[in-house]
């Protein structure tokens, strides 16, 4: 790191910050119902790391905000988590955390971090002060520190940094700065830390500090021991001799293990212990790898299905290509698995939304999360956070009633929003279920009618169709605009974002019982197992995962109902037939059922029989989206390139239903 590469350091910094903030949020929200010592220690540790890193990267506003919270939790820790207003503390922490988040976002987008944290810090200070005052009265323990006088005691300290630590002057500056922030008077040698020559002096002699404080040697020792990249430090009273520290404050003699780790070179500040086996990789590198993987799959098909090989006796060649294909498949699985991320983090963010909204709307709602270990491709996960947020907001704002109304309606006072994820074939289903009032069909249709969206009489719309209107841009049945919804933006984001990743959303609702939003999201965008079928002159790909069965139909099994729907009986069950050439409007010569093939395909729990000319064979295909110029046709999810360079469309079985 001899070259001071601020760009890459910043990137690392923001990455670390985001991770820390996530873990912080988790702890804070968990603590709202009562902070455990473990929570407090963790929050303290995280805040401490944020403070240190921010100071090192010269973001004083972030570092002071973190410092404020750190102080608060330092106090809580000292007091062994006294009984207190948890909700107030959570508010304070979340407020400062949002500030830090905002600043990090600014830094990420290349803007200067210019927010002022003073307001947050003073609020925390004020609260901390009130806590201390309250505690000071009944607890004599608090009085121990009082008689130290305004000037306090003066100590001489020397900090020796790890050998080879870079930017010693900056680190020294941060250390001195930290102490000053705690209200200590600090002078240091070398006195000019901005000058880079100071680094050499510190490397040789260490950083000498003269500190005057009224906070006691224990607190000072604790603070010094938190210095990043520190090898060791000495602390002794200057001028007036003081009693040995260990007797006065047992904490000083046995510092927290986590703080020891902070001074250890192997543990970078942000890495919690036990994560050494995990490395973080830039997503763009994974994207590149995936792209190459796709090219490898295509290229393999080009080689092994090369037209020049036709009609040749190539037993050994084919054996080897099977081996090659197996290896490629294994690599591909590995590449895909690297990109899979559990939904837990995304789901966890929703707790915060539920909490904040409940407070503001005066509702009492519990968020139940099921299956948050379900994994989804990294690129996809980015697109579902917003839709989920909007749906949950909608459920809380419109769906779940106020506690009074719920009691009147004979429901438990606490509303429940259930967030569930599960795998279903090549899709992940995420359902958001609330036990609120449900969607108002009449109101939605009325609104749709006045917006000129209806083309049939009201009663001709199935519930499903009617509910789908809420995803239209600018559509809101809420008469009042609240902070959270009513402007008609939001739900259209849901369908738009999901479309981007090839997903869809379905609403079910029963008046008075609640509503259920089901998001269907593809597990991954990239490579699927497909069955190639022939239809008309073209070749199409059916995802293997949708295929249940395929068979040669007999004419006698096929019949039509009075309205002309074609059906087939298979092993005693009756299924609808979708003639693919009719469905897609393509000319073909194979129109007699006996000449073609029936493929039984399923989507969720629905099954139909698709009729095609013939099956060609199984093949792995790299999914490409259709160009944006072409409006996505029903029943087609994308396309793929075949070994010979031809394009083949990928059939989306869901298009056959509803």
């Amino acid at each position: 790191m001899s070259e001071f590469d601020r760009e890459s350091m910043l990137e690392m910094f923001t990455f670390e910050m985001n991770q820390l903030l996530e873990s912080l949020e988790e702890n804070v929200l968990r603590g709202e119902s009562g902070y455990s010592m473990e929570n407090i220690n963790e929050i303290f540790r995280v805040m401490h790391t944020i403070k240190g890193s921010a100071a090192m990267m010269m973001f004083p506003n972030i570092s002071t905000a973190a410092h404020g919270i750190e102080d608060l939790f330092f106090y809580l820790r000292e007091r062994n988590a006294p009984d207190m207003d948890y909700s107030r503390i959570t508010d304070l922490v979340l407020e400062s955390m949002d500030f830090i988040k905002g600043e990090i976002a600014k830094i990420e987008s290349g803007a200067p971090s210019d927010g002022d944290s003073a307001e947050y810090v003073s609020r925390i200070r004020a609260y901390l002060q009130s806590l201390k005052e309250r505690a000071a009265a009944p607890e004599p323990e608090a009085a121990v520190e009082a008689p130290r006088g305004a000037d306090g005691d003066t100590f001489a300290a020397r900090i020796i940094y790890e050998d080879g630590t870079e930017m010693l002057n900056v680190r020294a500056f941060a250390a001195a700065h930290n102490l000053r922030q705690r209200g200590m008077t600090v002078s240091h040698e070398p006195s000019d830390l901005i000058d880079e020559a100071a680094s050499d002096y510190i490397a040789e002699n260490g950083l000498r500090l003269i500190i005057t404080t009224d906070q006691g040697v224990g607190a000072l020792r604790d603070m010094l021991s938190e210095t990043i990249y520190m090898k060791e430090f000495t602390l002794e009273p200057a001028e007036t001799p003081a009693p040995k520290t260990s007797a006065e404050d047992p904490k000083a003699a046995a510092p927290e293990p986590s703080e020891k780790a902070a001074a250890h070179p192997a543990a970078r500040p942000a890495r919690p212990a036990g994560q050494q086996s995990v490395i973080s990789v830039n997503v763009s590198k994974l994207d590149e790898l995936l792209k190459l993987m796709g090219e490898l799959v295509i290229s393999e098909a080009m080689v092994t299905q090369n037209p020049e090989l036709e009609n040749l006796e190539l037993d050994s060649f084919h054996k080897e290509t099977r081996q090659l294909r197996k290896i490629i498949k294994d690599i591909q699985d590995a590449v895909m698995s690297m990109r899979m991320v559990p939904l837990a983090t995304t789901f966890f963010k929703m707790h915060r939304i539920v909490r904040d909204m409940c407070k503001q709307l005066g509702k009492d709602i519990r968020l139940d999360v099921i299956g948050d270990e379900t994994e989804v491709d990294k690129n996809i996960i980015e697109h579902i956070s917003d839709p989920l947020m909007h749906i949950i907001r909608n459920s809380i704002d419109h769906g779940i009633e106020t506690p009074d109304a719920r009691v009147l309606g004979g429901k438990p006072e606490t509303g429940v929003v259930q967030l569930e994820a599960r795998n279903s074939g090549s899709d992940v289903l995420i359902t958001v279920r609330d036990d609120g009032a449900g969607l108002d069909r009449a109101k939605i249709l009325k609104k749709a009618r006045s917006a000129g969206l209806l083309t049939k009489p009201d009663e001709d719309y199935a519930d499903r169709e009617a509910f789908q209107f809420i995803f239209m841009p600018g559509f809101s049945t809420n008469d009042q605009v609240t902070e959270f919804s009513g402007r008609g933006v939001g739900m259209d984001v849901v369908s738009k974002n999901l479309e981007k990743v090839g997903g869809s959303v379905l609403v079910e609702s029963a008046a008075g019982e609640g509503s259920t939003f089901t998001l269907k999201i593809p597990l991954t965008l990239a490579i699927i197992e497909g069955m190639m079928i022939k239809m008309g002159g073209g070749k199409y790909i059916l995802p293997i995962i949708s295929i249940k069965d395929s068979f040669k139909p007999r004419r006698g099994d096929v019949f039509r109902d009075p309205s002309g729907n074609e059906m087939i009986t298979v092993r005693g069950e009756v299924y609808n037939i979708v003639r693919l050439y009719e469905f897609f409007g393509l000319p073909t010569r194979v129109t007699e059922v006996e000449d073609g093939i029936m493929i039984m395909v399923e989507n969720g729990d629905e099954t139909v029989c698709a009729f095609a000319d013939e099956l060609v064979g199984e093949q792995q295909v790299v999914v490409k989206s259709l160009p944006k110029y072409i409006k996505k046709p029903r029943g087609i999810s994308g396309c793929t390139l075949l070994g010979n360079g031809d394009i083949s469309l990928i059939i989306d079985v869901a298009g056959f239903f509803g």
Partner: protein
């Protein structure tokens, strides 16, 4: 011969493309588009039909791994379509981030048409094709109709 010269990738000449137009022939008339929009010109290749698209969108082609939609200018103009032959080309445009191929009867070449030789089309809208014409250029060989690409595509 015309096809050969047309197969040159024109993109490299981008900085000096002022007043330069690619001219091509559709149903007996000459049309032109600004050279700056041209990505490349390829000979006609197999087009994969996409269901549920308007009749003038012929489908998609594989352009070295990129999926490019192609439209038939004849069909867009409401002209009868003719079988593709050796002269049939796909002019690939890069228009406002849309990469789109135009199927044309024959590419003629690149012509320089100065501003002084360009005039607005007559205001009377007599034929359907008129609405796709932005300007009319006069060159030595005759009149060239300058296409409004946006209207052609959307």
């Amino acid at each position: 011969m015309a096809t050969e010269s047309a197969l040159i990738d024109i993109q490299e000449e981008e900085d000096s493309t002022k007043d330069l137009y690619l001219t091509f022939r559709i149903a007996g008339a000459d049309y032109a588009v600004e050279v700056g929009y041209i990505k490349e010109i390829i000979t006609i290749c197999p087009v994969t039909v996409v269901p549920e698209t308007p009749p003038f969108i012929k489908g998609i082609i594989n352009l070295r791994g990129d999926i490019v939609p192609v439209i038939s200018v004849r069909a867009r103009f409401g002209q009868p379509e003719i079988p593709y032959d050796d002269a049939t080309c796909i002019v690939v445009l890069d228009f406002d981030d849309y990469i789109i191929g135009l199927i044309v009867d024959k590419v003629k070449g690149v012509a320089t048409i100065g501003e002084e030789n360009i005039s607005a089309p007559p205001s009377a809208k007599l034929s359907f094709a008129n609405e796709f014409i932005k300007n009319i250029g006069r060159a030595k060989e005759g009149v060239t109709l300058m296409l409004d690409i946006y209207k052609l595509l959307f």
